[in-house]
Amino acid sequence: MHDVGGLPGRALDRSEHDPEFWEKRIDAMLMLLVGKRQLITVDELRRCIEQLGEGAYENLAYYERWTASMAQNLLEKGVLTSDELGRKLAEIEARTSAGSQ
């Protein structure tokens, strides 16, 4: 659940860590899709995150939620199809488990 203002909360974990490279690429792609290409609005991205379901906030990290939302939006708009994504994911899995990064 995203609307957390006023709910109970714990002491803060103030440790600092830079986002990982893949996370920065998600961020950069989103800025391109929203800003330059105007394919998706930031509101659509937020709405899809909110619709990921209760487990999303407990089980997914920050950039994982944005990644899931980006995929959902691209599917809704017909920029990508599930079939294309599925085939590409299988290809990636095959080549990354074949040894190299």
């Binding site: 659940m1 957390v4 203002g5 709910l7 998600i26 994982e64 990636i92």
Partner: protein, 219 residues
């Protein structure tokens, strides 16, 4: 969103503040997580279809790496030295930043000034809105459920976790960034800085002082 009563006891905090932000590490053999693979898949497909280019993604990451709190600190230091600039900054943040050749678009930058009477602190309870053009990427704690939940309810206790104690005769003013404005706090100029040059002043301005969880560093 039909999720029942809002006030139920829901322990959002549990292992959360760290897990909120950081993806779980991949397996020891270096296998990618589902989301890491999804990132690759989307990027490759979008590039194949000509929606974006690899160069654009690269440039976007570099641009992001180049945006650090140092930009915000320069704006603060100028405002400390030049009272008329400060007034222009408060009246129209983007225009004043442009005077320093800092482009904050598309952010509707709104600068809120700390005074002897008021201490400001920024939060986005609904997601993680942040003045990225001036401060770079937000810290993990800013995006955490705990910060977003507690800052609107017990701001002084949250500030104390940063070692920031606001006296009772100073009002705490919280800003919840729910819409289109992006906020930056203009911290108070520390005492004992009268003869310092602009770049020395900028070095005293921390990221946290521009979010409002801290104050500028004493010289």
């Amino acid at each position: 969103m039909s999720d029942g009563e809002h006030d139920h006891q829901h322990d959002h905090g549990h292992t959360h503040d760290h897990a909120d932000d950081h993806a779980p590490p991949p397996d020891e053999d270096g296998a990618l997580t589902h989301y890491q693979m999804l990132e690759i898949a989307m990027r490759e497909l979008l590039i194949e279809k000509g929606v974006i280019t690899a160069d654009e993604v690269r440039a976007g990451v570099e641009d992001m790496d180049g945006r650090t709190p140092e930009r915000g600190a320069r704006v603060v230091a100028r405002a400390w030295l030049d009272p008329e600039f400060k007034e222009r900054l408060i009246a129209d943040g983007p225009a004043a930043c442009a005077e320093l050749e800092i482009d904050v678009s598309p952010a509707r930058l709104t600068v809120v000034e700390n005074t002897d009477e008021v201490h400001n602190v920024i939060v986005c309870t609904l997601c993680s809105c942040y003045p990225r053009p001036l401060l770079g990427l937000p810290p993990s704690w800013y995006k955490s459920s705990s910060y977003r939940a507690r800052t609107v309810r017990e701001p002084r206790a949250v500030l104390e976790e940063f070692g920031t104690v606001i006296p009772d005769d100073v009002a705490v003013r919280v800003h919840d960034s729910t819409a289109d404005l992006r906020y930056m706090v203009l911290p108070q100029r520390p005492t004992g800085t009268d003869n310092m040059a602009e770049d020395e002043l900028a070095a005293l301005v921390t990221r946290d002082s521009m979010i409002g969880t801290s104050v500028a560093t004493a010289p």
